[in-house]
Every structure is written in structure tokens, then in C-alpha cells.
Symmetry: C2
Subunit: 86 residues, 2 copies
């Protein structure tokens, strides 16, 4: 399965809802090593960069962090406003 | 299926290879609208931000852009070097 299929799957169900969405997924595989957890700070900066391209309402940003074994997955879901982009 | 399962699936097969990986996936659902394609420039800036946190060799960055219908998925795969992070 390609990652494209992953996104196409659940989206099809809501295809009639005409909302524009941006989803960022950051997966970090640590390979058994420990180290500083920089994902939260990194995520903050990534959202700042994205805000330069699209006008984002902070309330429309949902962040979720999942961990399992050596894998850390940060998921950022942004619903873009209806107004035109900058 | 959660996005965590997606990453855990293929990774398990290569669990014995002790490499550290960072994967960024940017999915943009346009909801039928057309607009400027800012993903390539955005991706460049995202990699710049990530480089502040981890030392990345540009040769170890693989970028792939997939499009289907109103969905654009940018996938950035980074193999992190064995040396300690900054």
C-alpha cells in the first residue's frame, strides 16, 4: 500500500464536504537509540513555516503524537480557511 | 487503520538494520480548488527547519510527490547519519 492510498481511503468518505486540508506527518524511527525529544519543538517550527504559505487559524490545528517501540509519529491536521490564500 | 500502523508495518521488516529515519509526509487536499503549487518550496523550507535539529546529508534526502484527484502527497524520507546529533 502506498501512502497515497492511505490518504485517499478515509478522504473519499468526506469528499462531499468541500474543505481544504493540510496534513503533516512526521515519523521518527530511533533505531534503539535514546536522545532528546525534539519533535514537539520541531513541530512548532514546521507550523510556523506552513503559516508563511497558507493563513492558518491556530484553533484549526490539531496535533497528535503517537509512540510505539522505537517509532514516534507526530500528526498535524490543519483545516484551511475558506478565504483566499495570501 | 491508524497512521502509526502504516509506519509500523513496513518498518518491522527492516528492524534489524539499525538506521535512524525521519519521514515527513505532507498531504494537501485541495477540495476542487486550484491554486499555486507551493508544496515544492514549502518542502525545501521544511527540510531547512529539520536541518536545525538533526544534521542531515542532502544526499540522504529522498523526496517524492504523488498526485491523485484533488490530493497531493509529498513524501520526504531522510536517513539520519550515525554520528551524534548537534
Amino acid at each position: 500500500m502506498s501512502i497515497l492510498d492511505y490518504f485517499l481511503g478515509p478522504r473519499k468518505k468526506t469528499a462531499n464536504v468541500a474543505r481544504e486540508r493540510l496534513q503533516i506527518i512526521l515519523a521518527h524511527e530511533r533505531a534503539g537509540r535514546t536522545g532528546p525529544d525534539y519533535l514537539p519543538q520541531l513541530q512548532k517550527e514546521l507550523v510556523e513555516v506552513i503559516s508563511k504559505y497558507v493563513s492558518v487559524n491556530p484553533d484549526d490545528i490539531k496535533v497528535q503524537l503517537d509512540r510505539k517501540d522505537d517509532l514516534e509519529v507526530l500528526e498535524v491536521n490543519i483545516v484551511l480557511p475558506e478565504v483566499a490564500r495570501r
